[in-house]
Amino acid sequence: MSNAATSLTLDPARSAPPQSKARRWLRRYGLPAFGVLVIVSWVLVAALAPLLAPYAPAAVDVTARLHPPSAQHWLGTDALGRDIFTRLMFGARISLLTGAVVVLVSAVLGTLLGAIAAYARGRFEELIMRVTDLVLCFPPIILAMAIAAALGIGTFNTIVAMLVVWWPKFARLARSLVLVQRSQEYVEAAVVLGLSPARIVLRHIVPNAVGPLIVLVTLDVGNAIITFAGLSFLGLGVVPPTPEWGSMVSEGRELIEQWWVATFPGLAILSVVLGFNFLGDGIRDWLDPRSRRR
C-alpha cells in the first residue's frame, strides 16, 4: 500500500467510522499491555515466591498424596503430596530465568558475531556463516537434546546446549541488518572521520539496526521458555526435585484421573508464553508501522 488515496478506496476497513479514544487505545495497545501485565505478575511471583508460597516447595506429605484442589491446597497436590501451587510459584523462577538468559546471551553473542562478520567481510564472514549453516541444519530441539545429553543433566548444561542452538539466528539477522547499514552514508562519514571499526560497529551501526533484533528477542523468550520446558519434560532439564513447569507436567503425564497435576503447570507455561508473544507483536507494530495488524 503505497499512498493514502489507494488505501482509502481499496481498503474498506480503513474508512470505518472513527472509534472512541478508549476503544482505539484498547485495539492498539490492549494485547501488548495485557502481555506486559502477565509478564510482570509472573516476575513478581518468581521474586516473592518464598514470601507468598503457603508451603515449602520440596515438602513431601505422604498423607496428602494426589489431593484434588481444595482450601488447603488451592491447586491440589502431586504424587508425593507436594503442594502444586507452591511448586508453580517456585517454578516461575527457573522458567523466566532460563528463558531470559538463553535469549539475552545468544542475542548479544550472535549480534556481535553477525555484526563483525558483516563489517569485516572476507574469511571471517565466510566462517561465521558456514558455522550458522551447520547449526541450522539440525532441528533445534533435537540438537539441543543431543548436546544436553552429552553434557549431562543439569540446568546449567541445558542452558549451554540451548545457547549453542540459539545464537545463529541472531547472527544471521544481525549480519543482514548490518550489511544494509554498512552502505549508508553516515558510515562512510564515520570512516572518513577516522573512527575505529569497533566504535563504528558498536556505537553507530548496531544502534541503527537494533529494532528488528528487539522484536526477535521478545518473541523468542516465549520460544526459549517452551523449549526449556520441553527438554525438562524429556528429563534433560532440571534435576529433581527442583520445581520446574516442564518436569511438573512430565510427572503428571500419566495421571489422567488426577488432571490437576499436569494441567496447572502447563497453563502457567501457556500464560507466560502468550504474554511474551503479545508483547513481541506489540513491539513489532510499534517499531515497524508497515507491519501493523498483520
Binding site: P139, A146, G235, L274
Partner: protein
C-alpha cells in the same frame, strides 16, 4: 537452472558430511569412559583385557582415524547398537518410523487443509471476526506446549467425555494388520479389514490434531500475511478493473501467488512436526520414533540419541533441499 541444482546438491552433500562430524564429536565428548559403561567392573580392572577391547573398537586410535572408521561404518548403514534395546540403532529406527510417518502425514495434511483456507479467509475478511478467530487459533497453537496440549486433549476427550479411544495405534485387544507398508491405515485397507481401519483412524484423530496445532498456526499466519501482500499488487487492481468476480480474483489469481512463501515453510514445518512427535507420542504411547527418542533421552542411550539426531539431520537437509528446488521451480527469479 541446472547450475543452481548442482550447486544446491553439492552444498547439501557437504552439509550432510559436516553434520556427521558434529555428531561424531558430540558422541566423543561424552563425559565418562565408554570402557567402564560397556565392560563392567570386573573386566575393566583387567588391564590387558581393557587394552585389547580398546584396540578392538579402535578407541586407542587418534580422533581423526576414529572419525574415518565411523564414516566407513556409517556407509554400511551401521549406526551402532542401542544400549537399551541391544539391537542395531538403524533397525530400531526402521521399525519405529512407519508409526511416526503415518501420524505426521495426517497431521501435516490437517494443518494445510485447515491452515490455508483459514489464512485466506482471514486476509480477505481482514479485521472481521474470522480474522480474530484465526489469529487466536494460531497464537494458541504456537504458544501452547505440545506435551501439555496432548495431555489436555487426552484427559478431556478420553478421560472426561469418553468419546475418543485411548492411547496406542489400535485397540489393545486388536491385532495389527499384516505388515506391507507399516502404515496401519493402508495395511488394513489392503487387507480389506474395515473395522480395523476405522479403529486405526479413530486412534489417529486426537494425536494428529495435537501434532497439527503448532504447524497450523505457522501456516495460517504465513498464508494470511502473504495473501495481504498479494492482494495489494497491481495485477489485482487490473483484474478488478476488468470486472472479474472477487471470488475468481482471490482463488484464481491471488492465491497461487500467495502460496509461494508458504512452500518455504516446509523445513520449519518438518522440524515442528518432529519436535511435536516426541511430545505427542510420549503422551499417547504411540510406538513411533518420537517415543523412541523420548525413551533414549531419558535412559541416556547415546548410540540411539546420536543415530536419531543423524537420521533427522539428514532428512531435514533433504527436505530443505526439496523446498529450495520447488521454490526455484515456482519462482524462477530465485535462480537469477
Amino acid at each position: 537452472m541446472a547450475h543452481y541444482l548442482v550447486s544446491r546438491l553439492a552444498m547439501a552433500a557437504i552439509m550432510a558430511l559436516l553434520s556427521t562430524l558434529v555428531i561424531f564429536l558430540l558422541a566423543n565428548t561424552v563425559p565418562g569412559d565408554p570402557v567402564l559403561s560397556q565392560l563392567g567392573d570386573l573386566a575393566a580392572s583387567n588391564k590387558e583385557f581393557v587394552a585389547e577391547w580398546r584396540a578392538k573398537w579402535g578407541l586407542d586410535l587418534p580422533l581423526w582415524q576414529r572419525y574415518l572408521i565411523f564414516l566407513e561404518r556409517l556407509a554400511h548403514g551401521d549406526l551402532g547398537i542401542s544400549i537399551a534395546s541391544q539391537r542395531p540403532v538403524l533397525r530400531d529406527i526402521a521399525d519405529f518410523a512407519p508409526a511416526t510417518i503415518e501420524l505426521a502425514s495426517i497431521a501435516f495434511l490437517l494443518s494445510i487443509a485447515i491452515g490455508v483456507p483459514l489464512g485466506v479467509l482471514a486476509a480477505v475478511r481482514r479485521d472481521s471476526w474470522i480474522d480474530h478467530v484465526a489469529r487466536l487459533i494460531s497464537l494458541l497453537g504456537v504458544s501452547a506446549p505440545t506435551f501439555w496440549l496432548a495431555f489436555i486433549v487426552l484427559a478431556l476427550f478420553y478421560g472426561g467425555l469418553q468419546i475418543a479411544p485411548g492411547t496406542g495405534r489400535i485397540d489393545t485387544i486388536a491385532l495389527p494388520p499384516p505388515s506391507t507398508t507399516g502404515l496401519y491405515l493402508i495395511d488394513s485397507a489392503l487387507a480389506g479389514d474395515w473395522q480395523l481401519f476405522r479403529d486405526a483412524l479413530a486412534h489417529l484423530i486426537l494425536p494428529s490434531t495435537v501434532l497439527a496445532a503448532a504447524t497450523l498456526g505457522l501456516i495460517t499466519r504465513t498464508t494470511r500475511a502473504s495473501m495481504l501482500d498479494s492482494l495489494q499488487q497491481d495485477f489485482v487492481r487490473v483484474a478488478r478493473a476488468k470486472g472479474l468476480k472477487e471470488r475468481r480474483i482471490v482463488v484464481g489469481h491471488v492465491l497461487p501467488n500467495a502460496l509461494i512463501p508458504v512452500v518455504t515453510l516446509g523445513g520449519l514445518a518438518y522440524a515442528n512436526l518432529l519436535t511435536g512427535a516426541v511430545m505427542t507420542e510420549t503422551i499417547f504411547s504411540w510406538p513411533g520414533l518420537g517415543r523412541y527418542t523420548f525413551r533414549s533421552a531419558v535412559a541416556l542411550d547415546f548410540p540411539a540419541i546420536m543415530g536419531i539426531t543423524l537420521v533427522v539431520a539428514v532428512t531435514y537437509l533433504f527436505i530443505n533441499l526439496l523446498v529450495d528446488i520447488s521454490y526455484a521451480l515456482l519462482d524462477p527469479r530465485v535462480v537469477r
